[in-house]
């Protein structure tokens, strides 16, 4: 492998160590946080944002996810007219209103969920994707509403429903209203379930809190990307509670598959194929 392009003639020990920090910069090169190899960004990106050396799955936003999953040019975005309001006039160190604006500028998204109808290897499906780039994919009223409408649309049009989750949980800045989105989405899934709809829930790194404890865990099939953090409480909270070392691999996809709450760990490269195969197999 090529060494760091920024190598200089005289280096002290601290200079040698510093690039080992995981910094996902906008540079041409970056170091994989898993195998610690220097990798070429473009190569990583063309490898579905996976490390070309060790296949570490980098986190991706909703737009990239949709690009990866759907057949080119087939995705029609829906519910794009929903915007977050600030019902509680929430203010911590910053106001929620400021955060919304800053996140919208940063992520070029309006909130943390994108949904629409698209084709996956020629199979039509209703797709909703949570967006980590917007407030860690947290679920407020807009996310809850988009997921619910996606469920309702899938039911109306008799389409399979695919939700790709990546979220820190319910959005604190909407407090009780965020909590109610868990109830709302789950109730909508209850109807979809009884109507015979097929729901494939895809869990990606990280899926925690109120998102896991509602629609993400209600899939007829639950797929998870390798080594994704999946849980209800975060590992830090658990560690503070029990004051013990957590088990090896705790709350990672493979571990969750072993404990019985994920059907299949599916790598990003196989995700399209596996989803298409399930849609075919179930005849939806």
């Amino acid at each position: 492998m090529a060494k760091s392009a920024a190598a200089t003639a005289t280096r002290t020990w601290s200079d040698v160590k510093s690039p080992r920090k995981v910094v996902i910069s906008e540079g041409l090169w970056l170091r994989c946080p898993s195998c610690e190899q220097m990798i070429y960004r473009k190569q990583m990106e063309s490898n579905l944002h996976c490390c070309p050396e060790c296949q570490h799955h980098f986190r991706i936003g909703a737009a990239e996810r949709i690009r990866q999953l759907t057949d080119p040019g087939t995705f029609e975005a829906m519910f794009t007219n929903l915007r977050p309001s600030d019902p509680l006039k929430f203010k911590d160190l910053k106001t929620y209103a400021e955060r919304i604006t800053a996140e919208q500028v940063k992520s070029e998204a309006t909130d943390a969920c994108q949904a629409g109808v698209g084709f996956i290897k020629g199979r039509q499906a209703m797709l909703a994707v949570l967006d980590l780039n917007f407030m860690m994919g947290s679920m407020g009223s807009v996310v809850g509403e988009i997921i619910t409408r996606a469920i309702e649309t899938a039911q109306e049009r008799e389409l399979p429903l695919i939700v790709v989750s990546a979220s820190g949980g319910a959005r604190m800045q909407e407090s009780g209203l965020s909590l109610m989105q868990m109830a709302k989405t789950s109730a909508a899934l209850a109807r979809f379930d009884r109507a015979g709809g097929l729901f494939i829930s895809v869990l990606t790194d990280p899926t925690t809190g109120g998102v896991t404890a509602s629609f993400a865990m209600l899939g007829d099939l639950i797929f998870a990307e390798p080594k994704a953090l999946i849980g209800f409480a975060g590992p830090r909270v658990i560690q503070q509670t029990i004051r013990q070392e957590l088990p090896e691999g705790f709350q990672r996809s493979e571990y969750i598959q072993d404990t019985g709450f994920v059907d299949r760990v599916v790598s990003r490269h196989n995700l399209r194929t596996e989803i298409a195969r399930v849609i075919d197999f179930t005849g939806k």
Binding site: P87, D92, S175, L179, M180, M182, A213, M217
Partner: protein, 357 residues
Amino acid sequence: MLLSMSTFYQLDFEKPITDLERQIEGLEADIRRASIPAPVATPADDAPTAPATPALPTLPPVDVNELAQRVEELRALRNKTLEEIYTQLNPWQTVRVARHPKRPQTRDYIDAFCKDFTELHGDRRFGDDPAIVTGFARIGPHRVMIVGHQKGRTTQEKLACHFGCAHPEGYRKALLKMKLAEKLKLPIVTFVDTQGAYPGVGAEQRGQAEAIAFNLREMSLIRTPIVSIIIGEGGSGGALGIAIADRVAMMRNAWYSVISPEGCAAILWKQANEQTNSQAAKALNLTAADNMRLKIVDAVVEEPVGGAHREPAAAAKNLEAYILRTIPELKALDPDTLVNQRYDRFRALGSFIELPS
């Protein structure tokens, strides 16, 4: 009497009340002493009860009537102060009232107004979680299924219940008993009182998230009336996991929110202390009045002045009255209407801007 309440646990903002109560106690002791025929004979018995009374050893002749009048005045002042404090509780103070160790819990309400309570244990999958109590009971003329968080009263019980933080088996037990109630056409009454579902290794291994998610989905379809009351703490998914109901009410001094104030402060303010907790509690809009405004709850059950922990019986009476009022309303609906209205209730929740497309 109500005076003995404050001796063990005191909320800081209740201090003026406690001080007044001490004074009243002191004066009452004086009155008792003055009315004993042989004075100075037994000073040892009375000494510890009246630390605030000046000049204990030498008892000057006192006018009992005057003292009694003074006691009356102080009582009136205490009641007035209590009312003032409790009508102006800030959100963080409310949270602490909701956590008062003397506050009635699920089992206290069961004892207070449920007859023939038959506890049913276990989730038939893994075990029995004492943090959620379930069983048959009668409330007034109604046969119901009770489901409620139990925090525990004694240290032993608290530890067994994990302070009201349920494990997946608790949520699965709750759903199993609710399904039984559905089959038997019994209304379901749930009492919510938890800081949140238990965050532990075992809980995660056994699918805490799945257990809650499954409850949310299945409770939305149960074809018998469900009434939920947040009696103390309504923390996040752990609370919601037994609170998908046709009517959701809150006790006046309960809180209900997506996260506890401390949790929120630790994340958004980077540290949890008195000041940030207080700010977080305010920002989270977690009081009964806030949740009414947001339409998250349908009713507020009043508590006696000074909170349910001062007069548990009065709080229980109000709660019983609410349940007795609500169940007949819901029983009057046919199951389809009931389930549809429950769906519509939760479907409508949320606040967002919808631009013309």
